[in-house]
């Protein structure tokens, strides 16, 4: 059972969408240029950019929204320190609220916080909190609830997955009766984005038992059967007037991809996540449902380990890179639902993407050249792939096929998904790695490329890279920040430990009756945050 978490940033102009105003909005040119991914914040004043959307018909109230997701776990929980995947996040955004939410450009929009401002060095942010918000049990939202909800992730006993994220926060305190001040150890221009992630849902002060979740979100829990079903009903006291639109959300799981798309087409579910292959065509051709694509920097890569042979052989890594037929992967396997990547984690549509780095592609001559130089000869090279990393099995097969053309003995080993991350990933010379997007590129780089961090699956250590990553997070000047990211990309690109062929878009299927969703690059179905956005046409 692969867990999937989400965050990310990006918009894509590659995919032309002719379906009309009801689906994803095409960003205007101005908005696109202003799109900021990762470490770029808009003007330091933190003024949010709101996209004008073409007006659809007015939302109608009522109906039951049935959602079938592609992952399942009996680990389902409402405890934010333990959130790790899709279903946790969907439940979190339905039952709880956060200080900010992410919009289509991955910018922070006000939610429980009406506004937010940094000081001159971005080491202190003040969030002004909305008045009159109540929890589902009637008690009013107090500053202590917010302080508790954020600081609890620091507790080592809870082992929260967000602990590294709060490491930079030194103090959270009330700044007046309805404001919160967050003090940081080092400057962070991205704090408003980070504080809006799912782990920081606001719970009541002192909560330790999450069996009866009480939040400020649009829905209340009616029925919760971990690993099977969750039924949530409208919170009549929700602080957003008139919302949520639907009466009830039913969340369940259909792991089998064929069964899942059938559920959508037969009407058993109004929304399903993760369509693959021919299912995408099926839904696109159907009259009752449509494809909902979200471009995002999610990827599956083949990563070489820097601390062992033969993956520490640069020429071998280069040979493998030039064996990768990225176009075939994108067109045939991913059905065009993605973006070609260039062996580093920044999307080509991002303003911080360095276009001067030559786009790598399938090149048997170069591959042969590097293979010859590598001295590997007839030794067997093994690549570990798994269903735990989507498309890794297909990537492996494409590589293996091309390898036979240059005489490289490449073999695949498909490992079971269950214990892949604990026993295989990063522990063999070449392993498939899947990384889900984060709200900011800087976060992803900090989690995956700094020396010694747990998710640096290549065990790559470069102090210059470490410094550059920190520098990018604390630099307020936009062009200096962009230049820093260019340097980061070049280091990763040249080192060749990350063979990243394509970014994988989120592809969901939604019934034509469902309206109100916007693609948010953090995850499926509006960045998992559809609870108070979605409405059903009658």
């Amino acid at each position: 059972m692969a867990s999937s978490e989400n965050s990310g940033g990006g918009s894509d102009v590659n995919k032309v969408n002719e379906e009309g105003p009801r689906t994803e909005t095409r960003p205007t040119r101005r908005a696109f240029n202003a799109t900021l991914i990762g470490g770029l914040a808009l003007a330091a004043g933190g003024i949010p950019l709101i996209m004008p959307k073409p007006a659809a018909s007015a939302p109608t109230r009522g109906g039951i929204l049935r959602v079938a997701t592609h992952t399942q776990s009996t680990n389902d929980t409402f405890d934010s320190t333990k959130y790790i995947y899709t279903n946790d996040y969907i439940r979190a955004t339905s039952v709880y609220s956060t200080l900010t939410v992410l919009d289509e450009q991955s910018q922070a929009q006000p939610e429980l916080a009406e506004s937010f401002e940094p000081n001159a060095t971005a080491t202190r942010w003040v969030f002004k909190i909305r008045k009159g918000v109540k929890f589902q049990d009637g008690s009013p939202l107090a500053m202590d609830d917010i302080i508790f909800s954020i600081m609890r992730h620091k507790d080592p006993k809870l082992g929260s997955s967000a602990k590294p994220l709060v490491a930079n926060i030194t103090e959270v305190k009330a700044d007046g009766p309805d404001s919160i001040a967050i003090e940081l150890a080092s400057p962070d221009v991205d704090l408003p984005i980070m504080i809006g992630i799912f782990q920081f849902t606001i719970v009541k002060n002192g909560t330790t038992d999450f069996s009866n979740p009480v939040g400020t979100g649009p829905f209340k829990v009616k029925e919760f059967n971990p690993g099977v079903r969750c039924v949530m009903v409208r919170n009549e006291g929700y602080w957003k007037e008139g919302k949520p639109y639907v009466d009830q959300i039913e969340l369940f799981h259909v792991l089998d991809p064929v069964a899942r798309v059938n559920a959508l087409l037969s009407g058993d579910a109004q929304m399903v996540t993760d369509l693959k292959g021919t299912a995408i065509d099926q839904v696109a051709n159907s009259s009752s449902a449509r494809v909902f694509t979200t471009h995002c920097p999610r990827y599956t890569s083949i990563q070489g380990a820097a601390d062992r042979a033969p993956s520490n052989n640069l020429d071998l890594r280069m040979a493998i890179t030039y064996l990768m037929d990225r176009k075939r992967l994108l067109d045939t396997v991913m059905k065009g639902q993605g973006l070609i990547a260039n062996d580093h984690p920044i999307m080509s549509t991002s303003p911080i993407y360095d276009a001067s780095l030559v786009q790598r592609a399938l090149d048997l001559d170069k591959a042969k050249f590097h293979f010859g130089k590598s001295g590997i000869g007839s030794s067997k090279i093994e690549i570990d792939v798994s269903d735990a990393a989507p498309f890794s099995v297909e990537i492996g097969q494409l590589l293996q096929r091309e390898a036979t053309q240059i005489g490289l003995d490449l073999e695949l080993k498909r490992d079971p998904a269950d214990s892949y991350w604990n026993t295989v990933a990063g522990q063999r010379p070449f392993t498939a790695i899947n990384f889900n997007p984060r709200p900011t590129y800087n976060m992803l780089l900090s989690l995956a490329w700094k020396s010694g961090v747990p998710w640096n699956f290549s065990h790559y250590s470069d102090s210059e890279l470490d410094n550059l990553i920190d520098k990018a997070r604390t630099t307020l000047d936009k062009s200096e920040r962009t230049h820093t990211y260019y340097q980061i990309e070049k280091i990763i690109y040249d080192a060749g430990y990350l063979m990243l062929p394509c970014f994988i878009s989120y592809v969901d299927g939604i019934s034509n009756k469902v309206q109100g969703l916007v693609p948010v690059p953090v995850g499926n179905l509006s960045g998992f945050n559809f609870a108070d956005r979605a409405w059903l046409e009658t």
Partner: protein, 283 residues
């Protein structure tokens, strides 16, 4: 159960002959394909013949392409060898293990018999497919592990059949006479019992082969088959399943191949075999 009666065992009549003939034709063809596979393929089974997945049958690919744009027919042909070889190996292993233990238990009787029978009961009480899933999850899905798992899983069923067969033979006069003569275990086993159970065990082998094919293709279907890019028939069904909803027949062909071989094995067994000791599919 009534005693051995030759007339009750073999079915005669024209219909039986037809089933036998059809069954033999299919099995022989499959074996020939398995043996001569590499010479029969039009394309390399891992080569990409098209940039489109699931194109319908045509001149480039007689059965169309698979989900990655490879020739389905070539993959089906190479898959024949993989499927049949693995199933045969597993069944062989199951029979070596099960026959030895079963016949020994029948001859020896007593505590050894009781002990082994109990242990086999334990193994039988666990659902086969789940045992298969767990072992493969633990040890990986290499060819040898899959064969070993299928072999052990079906050895229990073979044990029961062999023991039942042996138990019936052992009480007969000629065996009792041999024992009275002072004949030792190896003689009893190979000289007296085995010749009389050879035919029923052989039919069990054929039947067990069909179970093994279904079991291993179910494991492959659930994602625990052999390493890509190789695929047995079950794996071919799994990888191309998404084509079904797009109107492609790609997953149907390997599934039909599975059905054809298992049906043929059953036809052969029906025509020739001893019905009384036949195990069910032991799902």
């Amino acid at each position: 159960m009534t005693a051995l009666e030759p007339s009750a065992i073999v079915q005669r009549g024209p219909r039986r002959q037809w089933s036998l003939v059809i069954g033999l034709i299919v099995i022989t063809t499959s074996v020939l394909i398995a043996v001569f596979g590499p010479f029969l393929v039009q394309h390399d089974p891992t080569a990409f013949v098209s940039s489109d997945a699931f194109i319908p049958s045509g001149s480039t690919a007689w059965l169309g392409t698979d989900y990655l744009g490879r020739d389905l027919l070539s993959r089906l042909i190479t898959g024949t060898r993989i499927t049949l070889a693995m199933a045969f190996a597993a069944t062989f292993f199951a029979h070596i293990l099960g026959d030895t233990l079963g016949l020994l238990a029948a001859i020896r009787g007593g505590i050894a018999d009781a002990f082994i029978s109990r242990f086999v009961d334990v193994l039988l009480s666990l659902p086969k497919i789940i045992v298969g899933l767990v072992v493969v999850a633990a040890l990986g899905s290499s060819t040898s592990i899959l064969i070993a798992v299928a072999g052990i899983v079906y050895a229990s069923g073979v044990f029961r059949v062999a023991r039942a067969l042996g138990a019936d033979i052992v009480v007969m006069d000629f065996v009792r006479a041999a024992r009275a003569r002072g004949e030792r275990l190896p003689w009893l086993l190979f000289g007296e019992v085995l010749p009389n159970v050879a035919l029923p065990l052989a039919t069990d082998f054929a039947l067990r082969l069909s179970f093994a094919i279904l079991f291993m293709s179910s494991l492959s279907f659930l994602g625990l088959g052999i390493q890509p890019p190789n695929a047995d028939w079950g794996g071919l069904v799994r990888e191309n399943l998404s084509g079904l909803s797009a109107g492609s027949l790609a997953p149907i062909f390997p599934a039909l191949a599975i059905a054809a071989v298992t049906i043929s094995l059953n036809l052969i067994v029906d025509s020739l075999g001893d019905r009384r000791y036949q195990d069910t599919r032991g799902l």
